[in-house]
């Protein structure tokens, strides 16, 4: 019986894999996957078809399903983000409640961090220590041992914590509200891992960057009050400029419109810190770091699911998810907004991790 099963399985596998390409033209025998960018593709919720695509810096092609190709198993459901640090890649797989850790050179799995509920983003403080946001209602930040790949501590923060940024030995956490609402940033001392302050900001903060003047820009997606699954109230999204040392609000720029059903979640900054990029319903916008008003016209018009700004070059990496039943696209633009090239990636591309 086992033989029959094996025969059937082998025949089926051959049929399936006959068109799979195992060769990876972008793999460099010396540096492996160290020099390039990684696109995290969420996949369709519940279908466990999330993936990571690898694109060489000077290549116009991508290697999709990189994790499965190397490790022989699918990555999981809703690949939320990836952080490259300490020669490792930390892939946060939201609806699989785990962080897959890979060797960034070979992309071979070196461990899995589990015991999570709703993981979102990870930052590395140094080679030993990192932080991971988690939670859709009640939020927490897990303190991670990045060498042992274990959770060493848990810090309670606001609701739905998303992106974090490290400034002046302090970790600032954007409490986005998750499936509810919140309008605060939690500040954690990275030496003691204690909450030292909670700052008010715009409604439902999600992402942050620091500009040339060392000011903190906070992207606030706006408040949505749900009645069950129905929207009872919505407010505009905004950019808040804050002092990262005191939490003082320096300025607020409204972006988007009530009723556009668009809740921006991605913020970017140019290499020189003079341009702030944000995503809204019309496309990818940019404003000067000293601006006090939002941009009327997008730098790159279109419907994007996410984007990233490449360090050093400021090349804009727009991510398009035409459906969640097929491949998405990475479209690269010159800093001026002109199209450079486009590359097919996985399903639902949402973030870019640069190395």
């Amino acid at each position: 019986m086992q033989k029959i099963k094996r025969l059937i399985w082998v025949a089926g596998s051959l049929l399936v894999m006959q068109s799979c390409t195992w060769e990876n033209p972008l793999f460099n025998n010396n540096s492996g996957y160290e020099h390039g960018i990684f696109v995290t593709n969420e996949g369709a919720f519940g279908n466990s078809n999330g993936s990571v695509s690898y694109v060489g810096k000077d290549s116009a092609t991508a290697v999709n399903h990189l994790f499965e190709m190397v490790n022989g198993r699918p990555l999981g459901d809703v690949v939320q983000s990836m952080t490259v640090a300490n020669d490792k890649g930390f892939i946060v797989v939201n609806n699989s409640q785990k962080v897959e850790v890979v060797d960034i050179k070979t992309f071979q799995s070196i461990g899995v961090i589990t015991g999570l509920e709703y993981p979102r983003y990870l930052v590395a403080l140094d080679k030993k220590k990192g932080y991971l946001t988690d939670g859709n209602f009640t939020g927490r930040v897990f303190v991670l041992d990045l060498t042992l790949l274990t959770i060493t501590d848990t810090i309670a923060v606001g609701s739905g914590p998303e992106h974090m940024i490290i400034a002046d030995e302090r970790l600032i956490v954007a409490n986005s509200g998750g499936w509810g609402n919140d309008s605060t940033l939690t500040v954690i001392d990275t030496k003691t891992d204690q909450v030292v302050a909670t700052w008010n900001t715009g409604e439902n903060p999600t992402d942050m960057v620091i500009d040339r003047n060392k000011n903190l820009w906070v992207l606030c997606k706006g408040q949505v009050v749900w009645d069950g699954w129905n929207i009872a109230k919505e407010t505009t999204s905004s950019l808040c400029k804050m002092d990262p040392l005191t939490g003082r609000l320096l300025g607020k720029i409204e972006i988007g419109q009530v009723g556009d059903y668009f809740w921006p979640q991605v913020l970017g900054i140019s290499e020189d810190g003079k341009k702030v990029f944000y995503l809204e319903s019309g496309g990818i916008y940019s404003i000067d770091y000293e601006a006090s008003m939002s941009s009327v016209t997008p730098l790159v018009p279109g419907l994007f699911y996410g984007f990233g700004i490449e360090p050093d070059t400021d090349v804009i990496h727009g991510l398009v998810a035409p459906t969640f039943t097929g491949a998405g696209w990475l479209i690269r633009y010159e800093p001026s907004g002109l199209v450079k090239d486009s590359i097919q990636v996985g399903i639902g591309p949402n973030r870019v991790a640069f190395n």
Partner: protein
């Protein structure tokens, strides 16, 4: 007009009207095991392509849901999110889940909110016959029949006085089902009542390819508790008036499992409740028959998410919908060869849900008619239906079909052309956010032709072979696509579904031994032809539609003892539009077997059955990331009093 009726056609047209109602009906196949007083051939000629699961086949799955039954007895493409009672949908002939109309004694059950029916909610309890009509025409059935229709039919046997049956089924993973039915009456009236209870923890094990080393894990949060009650009354009144009514109550509480990749899972569940009633009055005259239908269908769905402890509900949503319908149909026999019918119906739909703004209402009405010509072995039918949706759209649907029986060759030829449509559902138009009130109805023309060879039984051998080819276009196919941070439905696909179905039956009997072989094969292409689609999906097979499906079944009976072996093959299935080779579901090969023994004592019978499903413990998925059960054992006892071959009357 004075007409002289020959007996056989008159009986035939009465049966055809009574058996499936609510529409001008012409599609009846009497099956051998059930005596209907009409020539099988003359009835079959009316059909284009259909399949019946009769009471004997159904009896082996006494209280099964429709998904289980169809998977076991047909090669129809059923997609299911895991174990027994999981969300199941049918994709007939390469179409989508909302493209098959499910009818309960002629009353459409498809939800006005979702457009589809969860087959795992359709209990076969008390159902006398299940009919699959491939490519059912829109002029016959109305909206949403690109794939076809599934019809659940209840029939009275006016010769019955009292019959009782009860079922108990025990199986792997603490599976338990039990039900009982009663049929009582006389030549004037019949009453059927029955109920069932089911508890299926579904704690089966499966190999998990998402974890290093493919560990064997136990399925969690997939349990099901379901109960239902149905009753029917059939009454012969004076002056050729007849009355029938039915009621169906059902409640299911289903925990929703996580995809296989989950390391832990936020518990969630779904509660489905249904309350359905209908009444039907018929009056016969010499050469004419009138039928009046009234029905009320109420369905609700509640979805709940819990916190990590599973004790506190963190989010709850859902909807309830109600459909009130009324219809009247008349049928006239116009001379020896001509039959005509005409009618009208009205549906008042309403829905309220947490994602709708306020209460939604819609009124749909239609007028329909058909003419049939029947001479010797030739039949031709032309039908038309005009559909109106108040303040929205109107649509004209036509159907032309014909069939011819060559008695000499024992061959039946048939052909049909019809146009079809599907109105967008409430969800598609009004879901907040993203609902698209401007959606166009899906439309398309279907073509079909077939041939059946059914030679006269030769000695102890009886056989048949049939093949049908089809083309069905679906334009403006609705698909939900991302629109920023939410999803919205759009008319984006032009799809062509084409292929053929074939089935073969061979029965041989020798003394008290009976041998039977059955085979069903289908080849189905379902291609995205939209020129506006990105190039990596044009001309590609739609997700979850296998090109090839096969079911082969052999059975052997000797006296009261029976054995059977079934093999099911489902071909490779893509799960994405662009056929990403990494996301393909491999072919599925399943073997099931069963044995039964029937004890008889006077009017008492007890059927003891034992089944092994998925004998080879094959690890597979029907929906990506949702494991299907491995090998399972089922033991059932079916106690029957005064159960005999039914002789369904013409009501």
């Amino acid at each position: 007009m004075k007409t002289k009726l020959s007996k056989a056609p008159f009986i035939y047209f009465i049966i055809s009207l009574v058996s499936v109602t609510g529409h001008a009906q012409d599609k009846i196949i009497p099956i051998e095991e059930i005596t209907i007083q009409a020539s099988r051939k003359s009835s079959f000629l009316q059909d284009i392509s259909s399949l019946r699961i009769d009471s004997l086949q159904k009896g082996r799955y006494a209280v099964s849901d429709l998904a289980t039954l169809l998977k076991a007895e047909t090669n129809i493409n059923i997609t299911q999110y895991g174990g027994e009672g999981s969300l199941s949908s049918v994709r007939l002939r390469g179409t989508g889940p909302s493209h098959t109309q499910i009818n309960w004694n002629g009353i459409p059950l498809n939800s006005p909110s979702t457009g589809s029916v969860d087959l795992s909610l359709m209990s076969s309890l008390l159902t006398d016959e299940i009919e699959v009509i491939y490519g059912a025409s829109g002029s016959m059935f109305g909206s949403g029949t690109f794939g076809g229709s599934l019809n659940l039919i209840n029939k009275p046997d006016f010769k019955n006085k009292l019959s009782v049956n009860s079922f108990t089924e025990l199986g792997s993973w603490d599976h338990f089902k039990s039900g009982a039915g009663l049929r009582v009456g006389n030549g004037k009236w019949q009453y059927h009542a029955g109920g069932f209870f089911q508890s299926s923890p579904n704690t089966y094990t499966f190999e998990n390819p998402y974890f290093q080393g493919n560990p064997v894990q136990t399925r969690l949060n997939d349990s099901l508790v379901s109960k239902g009650f149905q009753n029917y009354v059939f009454i012969k009144l004076k002056h050729n008036w007849n009355f029938q009514a039915g009621m169906w109550l059902q409640n299911r509480h289903k925990n929703l499992p996580a995809p296989m990749s989950a390391t832990q899972y936020l518990p969630s569940s779904q509660i489905d409740q249904s309350s359905r009633v209908y009444g039907r009055l018929t009056k016969g005259w010499s050469g004419a028959l009138m039928e009046i239908n009234l029905a009320r269908l109420s369905d609700s769905l509640t979805y709940q998410e819990f916190d990590w402890t599973g004790s506190t509900v963190t989010r709850s949503s859902g909807f309830n919908s109600t459909v009130n319908s009324a219809g009247i149909t008349g049928k006239w026999y116009l001379g020896e060869h001509w039959t005509m019918d005409a009618g009208t119906d009205l549906e008042i739909m309403s829905a309220k849900g947490s994602s709708f703004t306020g209460q939604l209402h819609e009124i749909r009405s239609s007028g329909f008619g058909s003419v049939r010509y029947n001479k010797n072995n030739f039949n031709a039918i032309a039908g038309i239906r005009q559909v109106w949706v108040i303040d929205k759209v109107h649509r004209t649907l036509v159907n032309i079909s014909s069939s011819y029986l060559s008695s000499l060759l024992n061959l039946t030829f048939n052909a049909q052309i019809s146009n079809k449509f599907r109105l967008p559902t409430f969800n598609e138009r009004y879901w907040q956010p993203g609902g698209n009130p401007g959606l166009l109805p899906e439309t398309g023309i279907g073509y079909e032709t077939g041939i059946e060879w059914a030679p006269e039984p030769s000695g102890n051998i009886k056989s048949s072979l049939a093949i049908n080819a089809f083309i069905q276009d679906v334009d403006n196919w609705v698909q939900w696509v991302p629109a920023g941070t939410y999803w919205s439905p759009r008319n984006i696909k032009n799809v062509r579904c084409q292929g053929f179905d074939a089935n073969a039956v061979l029965n041989y009997s020798h003394g008290s031994s009976k041998y039977s072989l059955k085979g069903f094969y289908s080849y189905t292409e379902s291609l995205d032809l939209n020129l506006l689609s990105t190039e990596n999906r044009i001309q590609k097979q739609l997700p979850y539609i296998p090109l090839n499906q096969l079911l082969a079944k052999g059975s052997y009976e000797h006296g009261q003892l029976g054995f059977n072996l079934t093999y099911r093959y489902t071909g490779i299935r893509f799960t994405t539009d662009d056929h990403d080779p990494w996301l393909v579901l491999p072919p599925v090969h399943l073997f099931d077997t069963g044995a039964s023994y029937l004890f008889r004592y006077k009017d008492f019978q007890t059927l003891i059955s034992f089944r092994i499903n998925n004998i080879l413990n094959y690890s597979y998925q029907l929906i990506r990331a949702y494991p299907a059960p491995g090998r399972s054992f089922l033991f059932s006892v079916n106690f029957m009093f005064n159960q005999k071959k039914a002789e369904y009357a013409e009501n």
